[in-house]
């Protein structure tokens, strides 16, 4: 299959290893990955901060960049959720029905990574090898907007050598919430504090998630604490081979 990669601004700029892992994984599975080079950002930060109309140019550019692709994959549940669940509405509110139609159409071809693997490529065992103890944090958008369910866990459990330890309160928000982390920094820290405590108490070597925004929040604290626990994206585990 020919799959276009929507890498996201956060992963592109701060966590490129995740993007490389997605490419490596999909190529290993025998697919061709394209990268529409005009892509930048889906506009999630603007939309969530109340700047939906300012984000409209980003919506249009996104549809230009990915409109031609048969299948689009993203290593971010939150960005996928914005495009699928909110782009059509944003277009309608701006009075652009054509854009709304295009958005709905693209939404049906856009998948978060674990959705792509399980639902489209019908694969659970991607041939990965990661002999470490990991614990999985469910990102809010993945859990509640995309209803990823146990897809990420099924992919993880099929990895050779891995030990998956259940994370207490896995479905509780990590406290990132975009600008929330700085606008309500104290509450964000209180939530993060509990999340990190749960992660560390599992005894896992790594905390894995489907979103680098969560991992930036959780990993940032783990590193600050010198906790000796790594924050790693699902793609990077699945990309590893013996």
């Amino acid at each position: 299959m020919r799959i276009a990669l929507f890498v996201t601004c956060v992963t592109d700029t701060l966590f490129p290893d995740t993007g490389r892992a997605v490419v490596g994984l999909l190529e290993r599975l025998g697919h061709e990955v394209t990268f529409p080079t005009g892509q930048t950002c889906c506009g999630q930060m603007h939309v969530n901060a109340g700047y939906a109309r300012e984000a409209l140019p980003l919506v249009r550019r996104f549809l230009r960049d990915f409109g031609d692709a048969d299948t689009v994959v993203s290593p971010s549940a939150s960005c996928t959720a914005l495009v699928r669940a909110h782009y059509p509405q944003l277009a309608e509110e701006a009075g652009d029905n054509g854009l709304a139609r295009e958005s709905r159409d693209l939404a049906s071809r856009l998948f978060e990574l674990s959705e792509l693997l399980i639902d489209v490529l019908a694969v659970e065992d991607v041939g990965a090898f990661y002999p470490h103890r990991v614990t999985y944090h469910s990102s809010c958008h993945g859990l509640r907007t995309l209803n990823l369910g146990d897809r990420p866990l099924r992919l993880l459990r099929a990895v050779r050598g891995i030990e998956v330890i259940e994370l207490p309160e896995a479905s509780e928000c990590c406290g990132f919430g975009g600008t929330f982390a700085v606008k309500n920094a104290d509450v964000s820290m209180a939530m993060l504090s509990d999340k990190v405590r749960h992660v560390v108490n599992t005894g896992a070597e790594a905390c894995v998630a489907t979103d680098n925004s969560c991992l930036m929040q959780i990993g940032g604290a783990l590193r600050r604490q010198r906790a000796g626990v790594r924050a790693i994206h699902l793609a990077e585990i699945l990309a590893q081979t013996p």
Partner: protein, 465 residues
Amino acid sequence: MTTTGFPQAARQALQDPTLRRNLDQATSTIRAKRDSAVRELPDWPELRDSGAAIKARALATLPEQLVRLEQMVTAAGGTVHWARDAAEANALVAGIAHRHRATEVVKVKSMATDEIRLNDALAATGIDVVETDLAELIVQLAGDRPSHILVPAIHYGRTEIRSLFERTIASGDALPDDPEALAEVARLYLRRRFLSARVAVSGANFAVADSGTVCVVESEGNGRFCITLPDVLITVMGIEKVLPEWRDLEVMLQLLPRSATGERMSPYTSLWTGTRPNDGPTQFHLVLLDNGRTRALADEVGRDALRCIRCSACLNVCPVYSRTGGHAYESVYPGPVGAVLSPQIFGLEAAATLPWASSLCGACYEACPVKIDIPSLLVHLRGQIVHELPGHAPERIVMRSLARVFASERLFARAQRLARVGRGPLAKFPPPLVSRWTAMRDLPLVAQQTFREWWRERENEAGHL
């Protein structure tokens, strides 16, 4: 109305270890009960769909529902009054109480009466209001404010309650601190008040338009006393509480108890229509309260918040509320639904920081029995506030310029390169903002090679093969 603002108020609340433990224990207990009660019903999703539609339909036809409600209540012997705002509502209640020469009224918990500050207004005319819900009584005796929709004294443990009762209703007697003994003290104190009161004030969970029936759901029994014993009953109800048909109750009375207290049914649900000779009050007054609800109704998106049935399920699942408690919201309506109701009912300026008191995690939407999409409403209100209220111009400028950068691949890639050396639009964060991040987290750095740089390099290498 001066407010501290949520970020500051939350910071203070977060430092209180007793509050944190009490909140954690209470919310986690109620969450578990709610989940268990909901799991029992195989048709929970269908009930939610119906509940959401019933409320949406009621709101979409509100004028005709209210007219019908008035007609049916009046035909059944009640009197209906209309109040545009808090002042009018309070004047109506005071007027009725004065006509019956009441110097004391007993009251069942009602958020609408908290909203209009009825107790203060009546006190100013010489009428004492006796709160009869245990938690409201506690809060009243302590001279405090409620901090949760359903468990208003959630911030008091039993030792605090014991000292409070010793100081007040037990007139200095020493009390044991087991909950049963404390409840008994309250029971005896309140029974005397129930038996002597001539006027009672209540709220309403629902009022049915096609029959004029009013409904109060409760656990303690004080509601039954208030609506049955006194001669005069005054019910203050927000206009959004009306339901079109009697059978809508079969949906709402399944959704409410399970969402609120995790029970199959609350111990008591009382339904009355007008007055009945020899059974209950001889006079029933229904005060229909607007106080900003028609303003909320005018917002096509925001009006969904008026579906709220005050179950508090969203408070209990909210990672923010369950750490800060209700006082940090500085509003009668705290928590997730409060963050979308308060700015609409009281005005954006009065609650301008509340739409940001959320990480948009969506747990509230998931728990809401009438499917209010609270995260979307929060974003909608954020949009209104940043574009309409003063003080947001600097942020608007930054966001607009960032949008221009993101809209152009060339500008974006350049901004990435500049940020790597601490310059350009993606690196220009004010130190105070940066320090809020670094207070607890290491700062992520721009990668030595961004993904797009790596891809370009790979393509070039492939081209050379």
